[in-house]
Amino acid sequence: MSQTKPTDVFLLEAEDLLSVIEQGALDIAQDMTDSDCINRLFRAFHTIKGSGAMFGFDEVAAFTHNVETVLDEVRSGKISFTPTLIELILASKDHIKNILAEDADKKTGETLTSELALILGTTQTQPSPSQEAKETPAQKESGPKSYQIYFKPSPDIAAHGLEPASLLDELRDLGACRIAIDLDELPKLDELQAESCHLAWNIELETEQGIDAIKDVFIFVEDESTIRIVQSDTPQSSAANQNNDSAEAAPKQPAKASPKKSGVPQSNVRVPSEKLDRLVNLVGELVMNQSRLSQISTSIDSTELDTPVEEIERLVSELRDSVLGIRMMPIGSTFGRFRRLVFDLSSELGKEVELITEGEETELDKTVLDQLGDPLVHLIRNSLDHGIESPETRAAQGKSPRGTLRMSASHEGSQVVVKIEDDGQGMDPNKILEKAIEKGVVPPDANLSEREIFNLIFHAGFSTAQQVTNVSGRGVGMDVVKRQLESLRGSIQISSKQGAGTTVSLTLPLTLAIIDGQLVEIGGDRYIMPMSAITENVEITADERTTQNGRNLITVRGDLVPYIRLRELFEYTDAAPPIEKVVIVKHNGERIGFVVDRVLGSHQTVIQSLGKFYKEIRVVSGSTIMGDGKVALILDVAGLIADDANRFKLAATV
């Protein structure tokens, strides 16, 4: 069945592990003593090395070995984490990625290797040549240390062939030992299971040996048991550890809790996304054929046929929902990728930034997620580069020196709203307006609301100017961001308060595979317009069309709304009905009408792409096959407006 080659599986796996490494390294940047995390990091490098070697990626294996060795020392407490080491690990991760992509620079590898060796070298020679100090460099002075050990074996330890008493004996071999039994969890006699172990022990051990020697005693039981080892004569660390203890003293078993976290994704099945795309296409075709079948069945009017056709209809719609559901992925993984960006950028810019993410579980179509990356990178860069001030400036303004960047996602109806918020300096509407007037984007006497002014930064003419960044703080390539979002059938809003920060909200459809549309008819052909943009439908008579002196304007409740007559655009030559319909859509906060012959009603449909021959056509975003087998084109509102603007050189409304 599996057509995927093991080597491909390795490359996929390596990709996963590399992202585990990145996340792990960034987690450690927050808490350098997080041992779960250190283990996770170590294991990821270990697997890359081991598997890499098996698949003949010798360079990967050789390079990874260096990182693994360093992490092994960290794991055993001989080296502690430093920001430099974290940067080194991240750089190593990038290097491994490059080797796998056959895009590696040999020099980078050599530099990294020697830097890693340096870390190993310094720790092995620095602390003290004495053997003991090497064993436990965490402690400054040699001689016996005392440890507080808590050991609670799993109830079924005996069933695993292990005897707690022998472990205690081994501890006694290490040094002077005071062992106190803990009977707290001993059940009443009638509930007591003679085969189970209900006991726990508190042990005070004084030993010349390091903590590793103690851990070795418990090596075979550590996953099953609750074991806490605290060195008691270094007040600081023991206090910290005890805090930890009280926090997790509850039923949870610390040793067991962490692997489960990393174990979760393993129960998933990995499928290349092309297979999924193919599945979605097939289901799309199935849906169309099913509706043709329903249509035929209605015309034949046979009760015998009705029942299975209805059943198929139900099954197909369920199938469609579940297949589309498979494509939905939580946005958390996308957010996660930006932690690295924020980490790198803020150290590069000398800023302190805390990234807060909310709503990671919010699900979006994979295609949307994939294409959301670039715009988000842009927005985050803007926030860090121009929004959040340097720690000094912030402090001078009475703000916390550490800026906050908040990324959140939430559902709003059939759409998802992604917000990027910073608490930086915000945007100055006056400066933006000044710049816009200077650039000729708006006339000097323009009277614009604050929101309209902020929207100016999406104007292509505005953002090309490099120096805008120094003035307004924003504006680099925002038109690109906007275009990308529109291609996802999404929209972007911006709000900002000077001195307090900027919020950019992205509104996105849940999925690109299905469109909630309104079916319209022009000259006997049917078209679909995306429902999300439509605000209302009004009528227009031939008289009304001619009274505006040839200008395409219609009065809707006192306001003049420009319109595009689609039958003219698409060059239909047959006679138009005496009363046409105008579908009013809201685009960039402006109302624009599209004149069609008839409005047929709402229609939810699976989008079929037109294929690459038609990719230059911007006014149509896809097609769908109707129940009767005819094709209906899906109109792209943004494309239509842009096309019209080009055609008549109309100034873009915003």
């Binding site: 069945m1 599996s2 995927t4 093991p6 080597t7 599986v9 390795f10 996929l12 796996e13 390596a14 283990n39 996770r40 294991r43 270990h46 697997t47 090395k49 081991g50 598997s51 070697a53 098996m54 698949f55 003949g56 294996a61 693994e68 060795t69 092994d72 020392e73 055993s76 695993h160 062939g161 090596i219 075979f220 996953d223 692997p259 489960k260 990393s262 174990g263 393993q266 129960s267 990995r270």
Partner: protein, 128 residues
């Protein structure tokens, strides 16, 4: 057909070994975490278990130990890449692993150890 259980947390290694071992005429099963190991071992009889050592949740040494206690007749092949200060394969051997393979190893090496421990697989074209 002789049944082999392969345990590793690396899905690519599992894919590779399963491929190799199945093509040599053995029935190859895989397990990648504690849950799968227990499910596989509880429900089935295997003629051989191949296990990686350094694994999350349930360490390979633990698996070996459990197997030695519960199913002492099943021969075990341990595999690991060398890491840092302690040689886990030595420990594996002491715990009763019949063969120890250091990663990276060749396809011949794994097939050789199968041959030595449980004998040849069924003649070909039952590869999948």
């Amino acid at each position: 057909m002789l049944r082999v259980l392969i345990i590793d947390d690396s899905i690519s290694i599992l894919a590779l070994l399963q491929d190799t071992i199945a093509k040599a005429g053995y029935e190859a099963h895989t397990a990648k975490n504690a849950k799968e190991i227990n499910e596989s071992l509880n429900g089935n009889d295997f003629d051989l278990v191949i296990t990686d050592i350094y694994m999350p949740e349930q360490d390979g040494l633990e698996t070996i130990l459990n197997l030695r206690i519960t199913k002492p007749d099943i021969p075990i092949v341990a595999m690991s890449s060398n890491t840092g200060y302690s040689d886990v394969l030595d420990v594996a051997k002491k715990l009763g692993a019949r063969k120890c393979l250091r990663k990276p190893f060749t396809q011949e090496a794994i097939l050789d150890s199968l041959l030595e421990t449980i004998g040849p697989g069924a003649p070909s074209n039952s590869a999948n």
